[in-house]
């Protein structure tokens, strides 16, 4: 794995140009978002609730159209097969309760009409990546919360996506499970070389995982500042307890606090404005 700084020069995967989003009820969710995403990056979107982090992911995935601005995919081959080039992990595991783990993970391939023979191999690989090989025949309700999230990640990985979008995937999990999954996610990321956009409101999680953090502020959602976390990978618990990590956390916390102070001022200025904040 290259050091985090090398990622700054890898080829461009996608670019957001002046993306904004207004919801039908008049809420201004995002305003004038510009950023580039390079191949192999682990980018975190960090910000308070209501800053439109999830909306950014949905726009990138094509689930929501931006009200203005555009999402550019420089490599047309990526864009053509886009549906299989993106994996999405929601905050909830979002599994089909009526289907076994195997059938949940194979879903993207089945929808893509892949032959059953090649499906089995791919699903096994994906389950192996998240350490759930033995649970292929289990049903979601027989699994713990952390295991369900692993299934969800395996499903996102099964198409071997170039871009993995994760919307606060571990927010609902307990601390211990969360640490474990953070480590496993880093391993998967390094093993597959995929690009990750990770939405979180945890400073510690974002600093632990990311090569770059975009700190967002709310009302309307926009990028407040950008931080490069150029600690080398692989990262593990040694990194998590290092002074370097603590320093990054301090800087990131300060940036987030500034973003939120900014946001409060903006909110005060907008008092009496009919645009409600805090959506999403």
């Amino acid at each position: 794995m290259p050091p985090a700084t090398a990622l700054q020069t890898s080829p461009l995967l996608l670019a957001l140009h002046g993306v904004g989003k207004t919801f039908p009820n008049g809420t201004l969710a995002l305003a004038n978002l510009n950023f580039n995403l390079r191949r192999g990056e682990f980018l975190s979107l960090l910000g308070p609730s209501g800053c439109g982090k999830s909306t950014v992911l949905r726009i990138i995935a094509g689930l929501t159209a931006p009200s203005y601005g555009s999402v550019e995919w420089p490599d047309p081959s990526t864009h053509a097969g886009k549906s299989n080039r993106i994996g999405f992990v929601f905050q909830d595991p979002t599994l089909m309760p009526w289907a076994s783990v195997f059938n949940n993970v194979s879903l993207p391939l089945v929808l893509n009409c892949m032959a059953a023979a090649s499906i089995a191999g791919r699903v096994t690989t994906a389950l192996d990546r998240v350490g759930l090989t033995k649970f292929a025949e289990a049903y979601p309700r027989e699994l713990s919360g952390g295991m369900r999230m692993r299934v969800s990640i395996a499903r996102a990985l099964v198409t071997e996506p170039q871009l993995l979008l994760m919307d606060e995937p571990f927010a609902a999990l307990d601390e211990i499970t969360r640490f474990k999954l953070n480590n496993d996610l880093l391993q998967v990321w390094q093993a597959t070389g995929t690009t990750v956009v990770f939405v979180t409101h945890s400073v510690f999680e974002s600093v632990y995982l990311s090569s770059r953090i975009l700190v967002m502020s709310a009302r309307p959602g926009r990028i407040f500042t950008e931080l490069a976390i150029d600690a080398p990978y692989p990262r593990d618990n040694n990194y998590g307890t290092s002074a370097e990590y603590a320093a990054f956390c301090r800087r990131t916390s300060a940036a987030l606090a500034q973003a939120m102070a900014h946001d409060n001022m903006a909110g005060d200025n907008m008092a009496g404005d009919k645009t409600p904040g805090g959506r999403l």
């Binding site: 949905r58 995935a61 094509g62 689930l63 549906s83 299989n84 993106i86 999405f88 929601f90 909830d92 979002t94 089909m96 309760p97 009526w98 289907a99 879903l107 993207p108 089945v110 929808l111 893509n112 049903y139 979601p140 309700r141 198409t159």
Partner: protein, 269 residues
């Protein structure tokens, strides 16, 4: 603590089975006693023992009628099941079709079947009319429940299917129908009982005019002949048929949902 709780549970379970049985036995005993003490003639009120006797003596006749009624009920139920689910799926795929036809499905449902049955008997041959009645009453709960179920899809799962470019057919087959399954089965459980009611109503409406030989027809016929014990025996068979249908559909519910749905989870615990 835990052992005490489990004893309590077992005690509860025994009571739940034993109490209704005791009540039934007590009721039958009092019934038999009243008939015996007051010397009530059988053409007014037969005792339980006589009813059982009649059931055994008339078994050949009654069992044939049972088969006829059950066959109508099951045919009506199956038509309602496939018709209801099929129409709900069509409605789900085409809003125009839903807008055009749904009001008439409602009208069919709210018009009392007893009032429709005589008309059907005029225009259709009797077995077909009876079948139509069983279908009409049973079909709406399946349609309504399936429609509700098809609309109750998890939004995130819907997004996921969109993300992976699922076709309409895939969306229906892999997401909407499985999501709707608990609702569909709920509808089927109601439809099972209702199709029996529909069949009985139509047979009664056909009355002596019909050439049918279903259980309800037997009840009407025995009434005209003042063969009250046979009326009771036929009624008993109808109840048993209703109970059997109910449990058969409960079993279907359990088998289809036990591994994943909360409703079936409770039964398991």
């Amino acid at each position: 603590m835990k052992a005490a709780a489990s004893i309590q549970e077992r005690y509860d379970r025994v009571l739940r089975i034993a109490l209704p049985v005791v009540v039934l036995a007590l009721g039958l005993l009092i019934w038999e006693a009243i008939v015996w003490i007051d010397k009530i003639p059988p053409y007014v009120l037969p005792g339980p023992r006589l009813i059982l006797r009649t059931l055994i003596d008339d078994w050949e006749l009654l069992s044939q009628s049972l088969v006829v009624t059950l066959a109508t009920t099951i045919e009506g139920f199956l038509l309602a099941a496939f018709g209801g689910v099929g129409l709900a799926v069509l409605f789900n795929q085409s809003r125009l079709l839903e807008y055009s036809l749904y009001p008439y499905a409602v009208i069919l449902q709210v018009t009392p079947i007893v009032a429709i049955a005589p008309l059907l008997l005029i225009y259709l041959p009797q077995p077909l009319a009876v079948l139509a009645c069983a279908w009409i009453v049973a079909f709406f709960p399946v349609l309504a429940n399936t429609t509700l179920g098809l609309h109750s899809v998890d939004r995130n799962l819907g997004d996921l299917f969109t993300l992976y470019g699922a076709s309409r057919g895939q969306l229906l087959w892999y997401l909407k129908l499985p999501s709707a399954l608990p609702y569909i089965i709920g509808g089927l459980r109601i439809a099972g009982g209702l199709s029996l009611i529909g069949a009985v109503v139509a047979e009664i409406a056909a009355g002596s005019a019909g050439a049918g030989s279903g259980l309800a027809y037997r009840i009407a016929e025995s009434g005209y002949r003042l063969n009250i014990p046979r009326m009771f025996a036929a009624l008993l068979l109808l109840s048993v048929a209703g109970i059997a249908i109910f449990y058969a559909l409960s079993l279907l519910n359990y088998l289809a949902l036990r591994r994943w749905h909360e409703s079936a989870l409770e039964q398991e615990a």
